[in-house]
Symmetry: D2
């Protein structure tokens, strides 16, 4: 079974000034993030504004993105759609284009209808059809509810479902995933502010917006924990906390893009309806990055 461990930045999709795809800049960002030492990338995650892309654009982004990933780095691609059939199709396409695994956010629009049987059937259908292994994806701040632990536990018995990325930032829930899913099931945390705490309880890696802005530091934090140097890990996590509370938190995608720009990567504006980070917040972000020794 594919092992997912280490640091994975969820690469933002790059747009030009007209809101069209900027694939060259996207590829350049991926190359530079990989050069910084991350263990792989996630394309078309929530930070990739996947809900703002047409089907054609998604394929173009996957194709360009996967091309840019150097050998030896893991290639994860977000392929969750609201309908099962669209999710199956995009997962097939992503696998054909070279994805090592697909990351599938659960359908979430009809929240009260997303019952246990619905979620089980959806993921089983996707897992059976997808040539690439499936990683479950729970991000309640966007979807409005957690993927229940017992659903994930049952799905972990499917041979082609290999892990879960949980962005709730709840270490208790992360421990429950670790205990109730089959041994070896990959549990990744999706919140940079909880990275150290998640590693302390046994999580093996993170998909971190923080790693879009501070890839080296995230990798360093991961290594300190692996070496058992928790005192220095704690200090580094504390230093990074305000950065992630901004870019991974209240500033959101506009903040991630502004932060990338400030550290020398391509940023650009998000796609409408998202608005670029206001100038005032950009100044605040610069100060935060400076205080964290990232500038």
């Amino acid at each position: 079974m594919l092992q997912l461990s280490g640091v994975f930045p969820p690469v933002p999709t790059a747009f030009d000034a007209d809101g069209n795809l900027a694939l060259d800049q996207y590829q350049e960002n991926i190359r530079r993030l990989c050069d910084a030492g991350v263990d792989g990338v996630v394309l078309l995650g929530s930070n990739g504004e996947y809900v703002y892309l047409s089907d054609e654009e998604k394929l173009a982004v996957i194709k360009a993105g996967l091309e840019a990933v150097p050998d030896g780095k893991l290639r994860l691609v977000g392929t969750g759609c609201e309908s099962t059939r669209a999710t199956v199709r995009l997962s097939e396409q992503a696998a054909q284009l070279g994805a090592d695994a697909v990351m599938v956010v659960h359908p979430n629009y009809y929240k009260p209808l997303m019952t246990r049987p619905v979620l089980l059937e959806h993921y089983r259908t996707v897992a059976k059809a997808s040539p690439a292994p499936v990683v479950l994806y729970s991000v309640p701040k966007f979807t409005g509810f957690d993927l229940p632990v017992d659903v994930a536990a049952e799905l972990s018995q499917e041979p082609n479902i290999i892990g879960i990325k949980d962005s709730a930032g709840n270490v208790i829930q992360l421990q429950e995933f670790l205990q109730k899913c089959r041994p070896g099931f990959n549990v990744l945390v999706g919140t940079g502010s909880a990275f150290l705490a998640a590693l302390s309880v046994g999580v093996t890696g993170g998909v971190l917006a923080l790693a879009d802005v501070a890839p080296r530091e995230c990798v360093a934090l991961y290594r300190l924990c692996q070496q058992g140097d928790w005192a220095n890990a704690r200090e580094l996590q504390a230093r990074l906390l305000p950065v992630n509370q901004a870019v991974g938190g209240y500033m959101g995608i506009p903040g991630v893009k502004a932060g990338m720009e400030l550290v020398g990567l391509y940023g650009g504006a998000p796609r409408l309806p998202l608005l670029p980070l206001p100038e005032k917040d950009r100044t605040a972000l610069r100060n935060i990055l400076t205080a964290a020794q990232l500038l």
Copy 2:
């Protein structure tokens, strides 16, 4: 300004046994609902499973659906997408195909980022581009948050934004929309269980899943209120309440479709990941419809 008053069923999209569009049955449903006396229809609302359709399918549904609506009935089409550009394009297409107005759910995936400026900019851009007038659409049980009253109030000043459909079922909020939006702004309720109460405070109509199953009764309820016959209106609302609590509530779209089937319209299965109504619930629904004198 277009006046929206009376009863508007949000027509479910019809699928065949393979999950493909069943446009003939869809058209037949529309004709029969209109024959039952409703004032118009809403295509591609939340009950239309619009999030499960591809772009091509949406156009096919709009085209077929609008063709089936008899003259003299209002044609509303849901065109909200997550991105502003997709919403603009679909609104243009719907208008070209003959929509009288477009109903635009606010973008909602990135919940914490859907701030006042983002929502204002989104709707203004759509309103400026759309040839057909725009109706705002708030449905917190699916989107996770209410469209704020002050945002709607400000948007009601835009010439091409003519109303709001609010499915929260909160009569206090409905009164606030009535008070704070410009005079004549159309305020529609989106919950059959609150139809009488909403009409009592001045709302002029409803987009009601209940009207997919009980169109005649919804129209009768509306007329009783218009005539000031509140005693009989109350009795009718009480009779319909359990029906709507089922089909508009905990049974959701599978319940609406099963209910339509039971009253002689085309039902069919919802599209995956939604599952058909379980047999046990179908029996319960039959009893509810019988008790409400709909069978």
Copy 3:
């Protein structure tokens, strides 16, 4: 069975400048509210700051308050405490002092533990022990959760439980109480902003903070609805809405007290930790009352 219909102000407990009970002013307020035509009063409701009073103070307030109520008006007293035994004792005392009924908020501190068996056992124990009939009381904005409809329905079968006051402002839930509780069970609404809508669906009265400030207008609204004059009722409700959104809503108890002062009743400060209404809000409230023709 005692019938609860009409308008019941939840009288705020009066304090002097040192935060001690001001019973003379309290009695005078009660007399004047009753003179204004209300059908009875509620002592020690949430607006009575009952959670800030010692056991001795509660008894003093009940004694003084009940003395001040003229004959022919209903006397309801809030006696809910967290523990069953304290609730029983206070209900006994209130009955001995002359309460016509006791209004019992459900225990709520240990929210996840307030299961169906716990709530049923609590209310049954209180109902068996209380000499005065019991009114259930649900106020989720303070307790954090609704008293479930099915729990109320089951409790409505107890001979000594005669009604429910529901302050959620949710007309759908009010209709469910009306349908599922035994015939004749008193269902009162606890939100002035939803008074007309609640009456439209069959609720028989209201416990309204709005009636502390505008007792005559609340009574007039109730009578218009009884006479079937919905057009004028709607106009009056619309006029009162901004008043209630302030005093019954975002301004809370400090707003109710400031509003009472502005209309010529005794107001005074709430007890700490509540702070008096800030001067800025007091000015806003004066303008709201003037616009509503209450000044």
Copy 4:
């Protein structure tokens, strides 16, 4: 400034079969918990059912409880009440009876009114009046909202406010308390399931219902973390997780009491409206304790 570090069980208040205080058993429990190596105790915390006790009973519990604590162990006493004046009085009394610090849950019934100025004024008034230093206490599952980080940060500047116990189990928030409060401010976690993770980010101790049932193991976990032996700490935390998910989680106080009984301490029933743990859950709990090697 008083340093709070290590493990503090929040001792349940012991009742006899009639629901009256069982002070001898209470004292015996305290002695045995202290013998097991904990660093101190919390009397009248949420697990102490403080909301179910009369004023007289609270004093009796404090007096008896403090007497039983051996020298060298810290004595914390919960003294939060809804009103500022009651909180001040009880804090004074607890200090006179020998409390080393008082733990003050914020007032919480009037949730929307518990604004920043209200909370600041409340705590400052209590801190000025209390002879014993004050520990803030946030427990959103019971109070319905978190004590905001910025309020705690500002209060940490008060000389007589020395720490916070946060039971939210949110490690990100714990890190924010550590960063934004004055240096040396004591930050304690209130959830056994998050103990290891909280220690990993710099929290210095825990007030853990888990420690009522497994005091030795909690102390061992704390020491492993202090020694930097995170591998064994993780294993122990994983072993204890199911125990805490039961007694600190869905089983609540009835579960804590049943668990104490199973490990040989005095349990007894909680006070009504809380019901004793059902027999079925008691069997489940026994199995959980056995699996965790606590029986």
